[in-house]
Structures are given as C-alpha cells and as structure tokens.
C-alpha cells in the first residue's frame, strides 16, 4: 500500500478466448452490452417511428386507405383504413415504445454502459453478470410489449400513461391481454433498469481510476450517475403501480376502481411520481453528453463546470417534487397544484444555467462543426424551444387551456426528439469509432442533420398552433370537429413533413450500417478529445486497460497554453502534476 501506481491486473487478462455465444450474445463485457442495447433500441426506435407514420396518415388523411395498409388484418385496418380501435393502440404503443424502449435504453442502456467504465478508467462494470441480466430483462420486456399487437383484442389502448380506471377494466378499454402484457412488460423493464442503475452507481462510486476525483469526472458521467439514481428510485414505483394495475385486471383487486372504493387518481399520482423523474432520465444523459461534445467542438473548457454539476443535481432533486404538473386538470387538490406550479417554475433555473453554460462554452470558441457538434448545437436550440413551452405550461391557469392538446404533444417532442434524439445522433456519431473502430460518414451525417432539423421543425412546430386552436391529442378523426376543420391543411402539412422526417432517418440508419462495414477506419483519438476512452485503441479491447490509467486533470482542458496541441488528455502527466494521493484503505 505504498506506491500510487501499483499494478492493477486486468480481471479478464489470461482468460481463454470465448465462444461466439459468450462473447457476443450472453456477454458480460460492458461495451458489448452497450452495443447490444444500441441495436435493440434502434430497432424499437424504428418500430416507434413506424407507428407514428400510421398515426400521421390517419390524422392527415382520415378515412383514406393507408398505402400498404392492406396487409394489416381486418381487426386493425380493413382495406387499409385505420380503425379507431387500432388508432388508439398506435398512439399508446408509439409513446410506450419511444419512451421506454427507444430513448431510455439508448441514453441509459447504451451510453451508461459504454461510457461509465471507459471514462472512469475501470476494467468493467462493478457487476458484469448483473449487467448482462439487465440487458436481457430489457430485451424480454421489449418482446412482451411487442407481443401486444399479436394477441386477441390487440395492444394496450389506454395511452402510454395508462390512466385508470380505463386501463384497469378490460370491459372499458376493450383490450384484455394487450393491457396485461403492457403491465408485465413494464415490470420487467423496471427490474432491468434497477439492475442497470445499481451497477452504474456502484461503478461510479467505487471503480474510478486513481486521480479520477468527483470533480474530474466528465459531465456525461455525472449526468449518467445522477440519472441512475433517478432510475433506481423512480422505476420501482412504476413497477409497483404496474403490478397493482395488473392485479386489478387479473385477480380482481380494486386499487384503481372507484366503484369499490379505489382511487383512480392514485394511479396518476404513482405514475407521475415515477413519470417526472423519468422525464429527467430521458434528458439528463443527453445534456451530459452534449456538454462533452460542445466542449470538444468549441475547443474550450466547459464554461462553469461546477455549476453544470450542481445544475444536474438540482434538476434531479427538484424533479421529485413537480410530478403534479401533469395533473392540473385531474381534479387534484388545488393547493397541491399551486405547490407543484411553483416547484416546476423553479426547475427552469438549473435548466437555464445549463443552456447559458453551453452558450458560454461556445462563445469565442474555436468552433469545429463536425457532425456531433452540429447535433449538439441542434439539441441546445431545440431544448430551448421545448423548455420555454415547458415554463409556459407550468402555470396552472394556462395549462388548463392547453392540457391534453397538441401543444403538449409539440412540447414533449421538442424535448424528446429535438432534445434527446438530436443529442443521441450526436453521441452515436461521436463514440461510434470507439464502439466499432470505424467512423460514420461525415457528409451523410451532415445531410442527415440539416434535413432532420428542417423536417423536424416543420413537423412539430405547427403542432403548437394546432394545439392552441384546441386540437385534442389522441383524437381519431379531426375532421369530425367543426372548429378543427380549418386546420386540416396544416395537419396535412405536418403529415407530409413527418413522412419526410421519417425518410430522413433512414439516411442515418443506412449510414450507421454502411459505416459498420465500409466506414473509414478510425484512429485512436479521431476527435482530439481528452477523455480516458480515447487513450485506448478503436474499437476498445476487451477488459479495456492492461494497466489502469492515472488521471491528472479534468476532462475539458482544451487549448491549454501548457501544451502545443489544443487538447490535453486526462492521463498525460505534465512536470507540474502531482501523483494522486490514494485514500488509505480502512484496516489495511
């Protein structure tokens, strides 16, 4: 216990080469698990997008046969015309897939797994086998959810929030097995997230390399760490609520059935008590990764590192006491409503701190607009729009008017698509070389970004106007309402933009798959970044490091006057750097 640079043997060193199944399918390597999450959640992203296209067709051209819709069974779309029963399934499953099986695993499953050990200098997660189980439980959950479309009565029909008692009573919603599968799937997903989160938290606390102090951790790791805490504490509440909902449907309990003394509002409280931290699960990792990318693209240290960390912590903390703002029109206690209004308005402060810090980072930076940087800047811009409409609707009186309209739909898509998904496009492009050893096409990445930005805004911005006009979300046929008929051309414009947006995403998918096999070979540090992961070859080898690196500084030392290059890796020892002092181990 005397030397700081004591040798740390790689735990995997000297293992016999593993077979295909242990190496790629039931792998315990955090990088393989992250890549598994990547493939599966990209698949679910496509599924969710595909469902959205059907929704858009019905809204833009209600009652007209959908091109290619003829292959759907009579119970969904006879002759290609979407039935109301199928439409509500589409809406429900689009939301469910996108939130739980696309964005959440893309952000947490992929990047927490891939980045945390690599950026902290660990050989692997603290519990590699639990990590593997986390992936396979999530996979199982996704398959169960998908199975909903193939059971009698079709998939769940109560919306992605599954408000009781509609969801609790099969005779009301018309979906029997579909709704049960929805509940079972979310219980599985909850288990998966808990297993994942406990792994991430333990790894961050315990398995950092020497010298990697709390305030030398990259913001992406900070964000993923805080996200893991949110997931750890929020998902069990959803699991518990989903179990109660499942019991209501199957063994005749009455938790959410007002007819027998149950409380329908209880479901909403439990769901949103989970649901609002979930919102931050879906945005915090994106914010963290965008911070890394923006510092890199600006070749400047991140502006206000500590305030960024405290903003993440503050958002996570406040995120627990704002859930009621989803329920302003539910008949909730109005005093409670005012409390939630105030806490929601306060949460805008840490969010604004982050936005200004990103702008401060870019200000007078030596800007390099590579694809990840473009997407990161797109994220900031779109997040500002989504965030501003969020402040708007935090005010109870205003929310009364726009609640459950397309204004809300626009808001959630501005933060989830414009926010999280832009960040994800950037992050995937950014860490793709470390994952696969190849670089994604720069040209097609740029084309994809600009087209996405254009069509995305054409799709979702008009929804603000449409919602202000009073369009309710989840309605089947807007032309049935006199006051919505004048908006129909707008609706068709949205639909066509949405189709183009979907088509644009195919560019990303083709780029992704093409680069996997034909992309340019990646160098070790293609973005000239400081993080520990860039000291490894691309793709990063099994077990990561032969010897755990020692960290001498924070991750954002760009354009440092002390070195000739414009970046200064965390592991590079300058003559002025001291060796990190190791904390004494108790009892040794």
């Amino acid at each position: 216990m005397t030397t700081a640079a004591a040798p740390h043997a790689a735990p995997h060193a000297g293992h016999a080469p593993m077979g295909f199944w242990r190496k790629y399918i039931f792998s315990t390597d955090h990088k393989i698990i992250g890549i598994q999450f990547l493939f599966v959640s990209l698949f679910f992203l496509l599924v969710g997008g595909f469902l959205a296209m059907q929704i858009r067709w019905q809204l833009g051209f209600p009652g007209r046969p959908m091109p290619g819709g003829g292959i759907l069974p009579e119970t969904m779309a006879p002759g290609g015309v979407i039935l109301p029963e199928y439409y509500i399934q589409l809406v429900t499953m689009h939301g469910t897939f996108m939130v739980f099986f696309a964005i959440m695993p893309l952000l947490v499953g992929v990047f927490a797994n891939f980045l945390i050990p690599l950026k902290l200098g660990a050989h692997d997660m603290a519990f590699p086998r639990i990590n593997m189980w986390s992936f396979w439980t999530a996979f199982l959950a996704g398959m169960i959810m998908l199975a909903g479309f193939f059971v009698p009565d079709g998939a769940a029909r109560a919306g992605w929030t599954s408000y009781a008692p509609l969801s609790a009573r099969p005779d009301l919603s018309g979906a029997s097995y579909g709704q049960m599968l929805w509940c079972i799937s979310l219980v599985c997903l909850g288990l998966s997230s808990i297993l994942g989160s406990l792994n991430y938290i333990t790894t961050v606390i315990n398995n950092r390399a020497p010298g990697m102090t709390w305030f030398r951790m990259p913001l992406s790791v900070w964000a993923l760490f805080i996200t893991a805490i949110l997931g750890l504490l929020a998902l069990p509440v959803l699991s518990g609520a989903a179990i109660m909902l499942l019991f209501d449907q199957t063994i005749g309990t009455h938790f959410f059935d007002p007819a027998a003394g149950g409380q329908a509002l209880l479901w909403q409280h439990l769901f949103w008590f989970f649901g609002h931290p979930e919102v931050y699960i879906l945005i915090l990792p994106a914010m963290g990764m965008v911070s890394d990318i923006i510092a890199n693209g600006s070749r400047k240290p991140i502006f206000g590192y500590h305030s960024m960390v405290f903003a993440i912590v503050g958002i996570a903390f406040l995120g627990w006491m704002v859930w009621g703002h989803h329920m302003f029109v539910s008949g909730m206690n109005p005093t409670l409503g005012s409390t939630f209004m105030v806490s929601t308005l306060i949460i805008a402060v840490p969010s604004a701190i982050k936005v200004f810090n990103w702008m401060g980072t870019m200000w007078r930076g030596n800007l390099h607009f590579h694809v990840p940087m473009l997407n990161a800047v797109g994220f900031v811009a779109m997040f500002v729009i989504g965030g501003l409409s969020g402040i708007y609707m935090a005010a109870t009186p205003l929310d009364m008017f726009i609640h459950d309209t397309y204004f809300i739909v626009a808001h959630i898509h501005y933060v989830l698509f414009g926010g999280s998904l832009f960040a994800l496009f950037g992050a995937i492009t950014y860490w793709y070389p470390k994952m696969f050893g190849r670089v994604m096409s720069e040209r097609w990445g740029k084309i994809h970004f600009w087209l996405t930005l254009l069509f995305y805004n054409c799709t979702f911005f008009p929804m603000h106007i449409y919602g202000m006009g009073g369009a309710m979300r989840r309605i089947y046929d807007p032309t049935q309402y006199d006051f919505l008929r004048p908006y129909q051309p707008l609706n068709q414009f949205i639909t066509i933009s949405a189709f183009l947006l979907f088509a644009t995403q195919l560019i990303f998918f083709v780029n992704f798959w093409w680069s996997l096999f034909k992309g340019k070979k990646a160098e070790q540090n293609p973005w000239h970044d400081n993080g520990l992961e860039w000291t490894l070859p691309s793709p990063a080898p099994h077990g990561n490091w032969e010897r755990v690196p020692t960290v001498y500084r924070g991750p954002y030392e760009f354009s440092s006057p002390e070195v000739a290059e414009d970046y200064l890796p965390q592991t590079r020892k300058l003559p002025t750097d001291r060796e990190p002092v190791l904390a004494p181990v108790a009892g040794a």
């Binding site: 333990t202 069990p236 040794a588």
Partner: protein, 227 residues
C-alpha cells in the same frame, strides 16, 4: 499486504477510490438495491395508507379477519431469523466456521418457517372467504360482515383484500427469494467452508437483504395487522 493482494480480495474496491464510500462493491451494490426496494414498498405501502385514508367506510377492526396470534408467531420467527443471521455474520467475522454453519442454518429454517406459516395463513383466509377482491359471496366472512358491517369493514372489503394480499404477498415473495438465495449460499459456500475471516462478503450482503426484509415486515405487521 501488497496492493495486488488487496485488489484481489472480494471485500474491497478494486482500487481505493478517492473520497468513495470505502465499502466494497457487493455491499455497496446491495445498499443501492435496498434503496430501490424502499421505493418499491413505498408504492405498495403508500397506496395502502392513501387508500385507507380516503376509504369510503371504516376499515375492518384488527383481529376480526386476520389471525393476529399466528402472525405474531410469524413476526417472532422473522425476528429470530434476523438475529441468527447477524450472529452468523459475527461468527465468521471472528473466523468461527462451526457457529457460522449453525446460525446460518437456523436463519434458513426460520425463514422457511415464516413462508410456511404465511402459506398456512393464506389458505386459511381464502378458505374463510377473504380474497384479493374482498369477501367471497356466501362465505363465512361475508355472512359475518353482513351481520356486522362496521366491525368487518364491509364497505371497503375490496380495498382491504387488495392491499392486504398485495403487500404481504410481495413481502412473502421477498422472503422466499431470500430463503432460496441463502440456501444456495449455504450449500455452495457455507458448508464447504469457503467463507473466511477476511472474505465473507456473501454473508454480510445476504444478511443486509435479510434484515431489510425483516424491517419491512416490522412495518407491515404493525400497520396491516394491528392498526
């Protein structure tokens, strides 16, 4: 002690992280997991508290439907298993293999006894007509409740059944999981004497889980059976 030997021990972090919590991975992971368990039981117990608070009628009086003496015995069993668990841990921390085997075995026996008594309690209750959906029509309980609607909380029998079976059922599920994992450790690690004075992470970690389950039962016993 060389650093490599320190890192090799299962009971310490791979390398001493600065300002970490100075707890080895498995124990930290278990504490983190218990945090999520707290929230899971919060959802279940919280729903019970909230539903009971807002119930449209009086709840059944304690002891009318549920059998308090039997569950009091069960509580006693679980407390005994908790203390034998911690005695097992204290034994191996002193390197005492013999008493580890005895106390750990007693823990498993008491845990299994708890599950058995709970299974007996459930069959008994269902036989008398207490179901998750309330009092079964035509059953003994339904007749008693019809005669004494306030004492038996007839108006909220559905909520009573829902919350009772969900909460105690999931607690029982956790106990069962604990018994199974302890049995596994007993056969694979305790009996072959693989735990030592320096490396007994498994006993401590499964013990934490077991005490937590005991703790939940202490809360459940009070608020479900006695209030």
């Amino acid at each position: 002690m060389t650093h490599a030997a320190v890192a090799a021990s299962a009971m310490r972090p791979p390398f001493p992280a600065e300002r970490g919590v100075d707890v080895y991975n498995k124990k930290l992971g278990m504490w983190v997991f218990l945090g999520s368990e707290v929230m899971f039981f919060t959802a279940l117990i919280g729903s019970y508290v909230i539903l009971r608070f807002g119930a449209p009628g009086p709840w059944a009086l304690p002891g009318k439907v549920l059998n308090i003496p039997v569950t009091a015995f069960n509580t006693f069993l679980l407390i005994c298993s908790s203390v034998s668990m911690v005695k097992a841990y204290a034994a191996i921390a002193n390197g005492d293999q013999k008493w580890l085997k005895i106390w750990f075995g007693l823990t498993i026996l008491c845990g299994a006894g708890f599950v058995a008594v709970q299974a007996y309690e459930y069959t008994h209750l269902i036989h008398h007509g207490f179901l998750p959906s309330g009092y079964r029509d035509g059953s003994e309980l339904a007749e008693l409740a019809a005669a004494n609607p306030v004492m038996y909380g007839q108006a909220v029998a559905g909520l009573y059944g829902s919350t009772f079976f969900t909460m105690t059922g999931f607690h029982g599920f956790h106990v069962t999981c604990g018994v199974i994992s302890m049995l596994y450790l007993y056969v694979t690690r305790v009996l072959p004497g693989k735990y030592t004075k320096d490396d007994h992470a498994g006993v401590e970690v499964v013990g934490l889980y077991w005490h937590f389950v005991d703790l939940v039962w202490i809360i459940l016993f009070t608020i479900v059976y006695l209030i």
